[in-house]
Amino acid sequence: MTIFRPRINDFVLKIATVNGTGSASANGLLMKALFRMGIPVTGKNLFPSNIQGLPTWYEIRASKDGYNARVERVDVMVAMNAQTYAKDLAEVGHGGFLIYDSTWPRDAQLSRDGVTVLGIPLAKLVNENFEGSRVRTLMKNIAYVGALCALMEIDLDIVKGLLEETFAAKPKLVEPNFKAVKLGYEFARAQFDCPLPVRCEKMDGTTGKILIEGNAAAALGCLYAGATVGAWYPITPSTSLMDAFEGFCRTFRRDPETGENRYCIIQAEDELAAAGMALGAGWAGARSFTPTSGPGISLMSEFIGFGYYTEIPAVFFDIQRVGPSTGMPTRTQQCDLMLAAYASHGDTRHPVLLPADPKECFEMAPVAFDLAERLQTPVFVLSDLDIGMNDWMVDQLTWDENYRPDRGKVLDDAALAEVEKFHRYFDHDGDGIPYRSLPGSDRKGSYFVRGSGHNQFGGYTEDAAEYQQVVDRLKLKWETARSLAPEAIERKARGRTDIGIIAFGSSHGATIEALDRLGEDGIELDYLRLRAFPFGDEVQRFIDSHRIVFVLEQNRDAQMRGLLMLELDADPNKLVSILHYDGLPVPTNSVTEAVAVHLRQEAVA
């Protein structure tokens, strides 16, 4: 065995399996074991749009420095899928290891300079110890966890503890699972020089942290925000958001005595209906939302424009996946930015929130509902598959007990009694936001919602001046939105620099790490992380105060750069795109390389 520089708590472990073989629980077990050892981890599930049979990968990055971005380097590959051996072997970095099931030896095929191949007869070990094909398939996964425990010094007691927690309801399953762990563990101990230079060591890097997916966090955010109506149509990768919301509601919103639900979840017939339900509930005074993905937003656009013009609050979670069209449903992109910002025909603009990780999905949910009700308009939360469906390590979520929903300008019966006449679309306060009344309130507050031309009093109109008065007021409301949307956050370089980078959403992790790497090479950049559209003044200032501003985004057509040009007085020549759009989460090295290459070319020119 060649001796390489040790990589302790700083590695990428990738597991290649076949979809539907139950590897998810084994991979989850590994993730949590590292987490419990105090090692910062991130898990990325690279799965096919398929239920059974196609290749699937799980990538665990352990980073003692807390970086959570993808890196295009694999240190240890567990190759459990013969279909992808060649591809998997090619991904292993120099000095890395490949573990495979040597029940069917392939040593000749699996040979590459600089990669150590470790054959473990997992199927044979499992077949000799377990009966039944289903159990054998599952235990084979658990056995590679055991082998990794030996090879990478993952704490066996922690693994056992996790098995006990997992099977708390079925304690009989702990013993056979742990037996499978031991099979792999002991084989590796006996046959190989354990531990490998790529290995774990207990540390204190996860105190106060949790592992959570963005969709579960967003669902919790909706629960805490007081959302009561959720309408949806199943679509990858947003489905788990509503699944999680329903789960939380069963626990926290079901009356213990009567069994009554203090929520209403409606699985709609399509996304058009889901959007209509969300708006219907918002109109009636509930906090309502719909989770979907790009194809759903395409269908919902009709109602989104309606909601904009009739001024009805609702929250639209777009868990972005790869487009165009059906695209790649199980891959990630930031490709719906333009769609969300201007969804629907006519002059329409919508506030868009841009969470960077699951913690922000949780925190931005109440912000989205507050904005929707304050501004009386549909609001987007633009997450993506990477944030929504992957396991992220984030700070423990906290809740401010003083939070109260901002219901915006709603006239109740008492307030209606005070006014001489109720005019739905009249701007009393000069902020472009009118007052609304809710169905069921006093007759004085009744009005007729219509997507057709209306005047400031709520009446139908085809009058040129009356029409324009309302759309101009909506534009004024947009200015108010600029002051209410979450501000962009700036991270200054260590020294003065005239180079900046703008990024948002799931590109944040790669940006942070890339800036550190570039800094080591003497390249300093100020970083502005956008958190919302419309852009606040700080975005204009940032662009103005830098000579070059890189704009990092995960789509082909530089949609954020386009938005910045459309909405701000930004010089297109200084906005330099870094685009990543292959469907995998943006890796750090693609950012460092793009920045370095551009600056080098600029120096030459």
């Binding site: 209509g276 005074g285 169905p439």
Partner: protein, 351 residues
């Protein structure tokens, strides 16, 4: 203009209902539909039904899609909140509104284009969810606002005003509602207020989705010879299957019924609907029979009117969802938020 405020004219001795409100109190803006439009008769029937039931206007929400029919919620109950949504999407908005405010009485006004073409899916799913809504389809077989195209309910062989013939099959919303598992399916004729008002009242009291297909001739584009939804054609082919009247449980209204068997059906709120069978064989509780009856009438080119199917025991939208009796918007925020301690507790499993 499709909305002109209508002066409320009151006079001494105007009859009032149990709430002390007059018919005028249940009216809306002035109709801008063509003079003689069947839809205006339906509006008048709605005004009367709401008045007779003595419902508070503000307890009602009125929703619609797009088209001539969908303009009509502006013409009744000006004291109720109204929602003129997008084409074919009234049912989804009604679903969301009902989810939030189950205490409000929802009336959805749609048309044959709105419900049987662009909104066929939403119509179908509102029926199968048994959403608590009175769902009126003002059916004239024609697209009026875009000047006379056939709709999906136009009968094969009927001729458009411009002379061309419809060769596609017609969708019958009543038969459709029954096959979709609907709980209340009726048909009436806009000009037959005596039948329509009681049907509307029964529909408003029905604890589920009450579909009433109202044949409503279009005076401008579909009231000519060759149209099977004209006044003349409909009147001469009308066949009343059943007469229905809604009866207040506390004060029975004297009715003058034709001879025949009478069946009282108790509704969930304690009210009673009285069905008068013209045909002694007719049974509103049998889906197969209703469909057969409709099919036989169609073969005879008869328009069957009346309450054709009723199942008051089908679980409604909220029963299925298990939603709290108290409207969701009435819960205090404190009753919806689990609090900081619960958040800390649940995160233990995420470590």
């Amino acid at each position: 203009m499709s909305f002109i405020s209508k002066p409320k004219i009151r006079w001494e001795g105007q009859p009032t209902n149990a709430l002390g409100l007059t018919l005028t109190d249940y009216e809306g803006g002035l109709s801008t539909l063509c003079a003689g439009c069947g839809h205006d008769s339906i509006t008048a029937a709605l005004v009367r039904a709401f008045w007779e039931l003595a419902l508070q206007p503000e307890q009602v929400i009125k929703l619609s899609g797009i088209g001539c029919s969908s303009k009509t919620p502006a013409y009744f109950l000006s004291g109720a909140h109204g929602f003129n949504s997008v084409h074919g999407r009234m049912p989804s908005v009604a679903t969301g509104a009902q989810a939030a405010r189950r205490d409000l009485i929802a009336v959805g006004i749609s048309g044959d284009g709105d419900s049987l073409s662009i909104g066929f899916g939403q119509f179908a799913h509102a029926v199968r969810r048994n959403l608590n809504v009175l769902y009126i389809i003002e059916n004239n077989g024609v697209y009026g606002l875009t000047k006379g195209q056939f709709s999906a309910s136009a009968d094969p062989g009927s001729r458009a005003k411009k002379g061309f013939e419809n060769k596609n099959q017609a969708i019958d919303p009543v038969a459709t509602a029954i096959t979709l598992g609907g709980s209340f399916a009726a048909r009436s004729f806009s000009g037959d207020k005596k039948q329509l008002v009681p049907l509307i009242k029964a529909g408003l009291r029905h604890p589920g989705c009450a579909v009433i297909d109202v044949i409503s001739p279009c005076v401008t584009f579909n009231d000519h010879e060759g149209s099977t939804k004209s006044y003349a054609w409909t009147r001469s082919h009308l066949s009343a299957a059943i007469e229905a009247d809604y009866i207040e449980s506390q004060a029975e209204i004297a009715v003058d019924y034709a001879e025949g068997e009478v069946t009282d059906v108790a509704l969930h709120d304690g009210a009673t609907i009285r069905l008068k069978k013209v045909d002694k064989e007719y049974d509103t509780s049998c889906r197969a029979h209703a469909l057969e009856f409709l099919e036989a009438a169609r073969a005879r080119q008869e328009v069957v009117t009346g309450l054709l199917y009723l199942n008051k025991d089908l679980p409604s939208f909220h029963q299925i969802a298990g939603t709290a009796e108290q409207p969701l918007t009435k819960f205090a925020y404190e009753d919806l938020n689990p609090g900081a301690d619960a958040l800390r507790e649940l995160q233990k499993s995420l470590r």
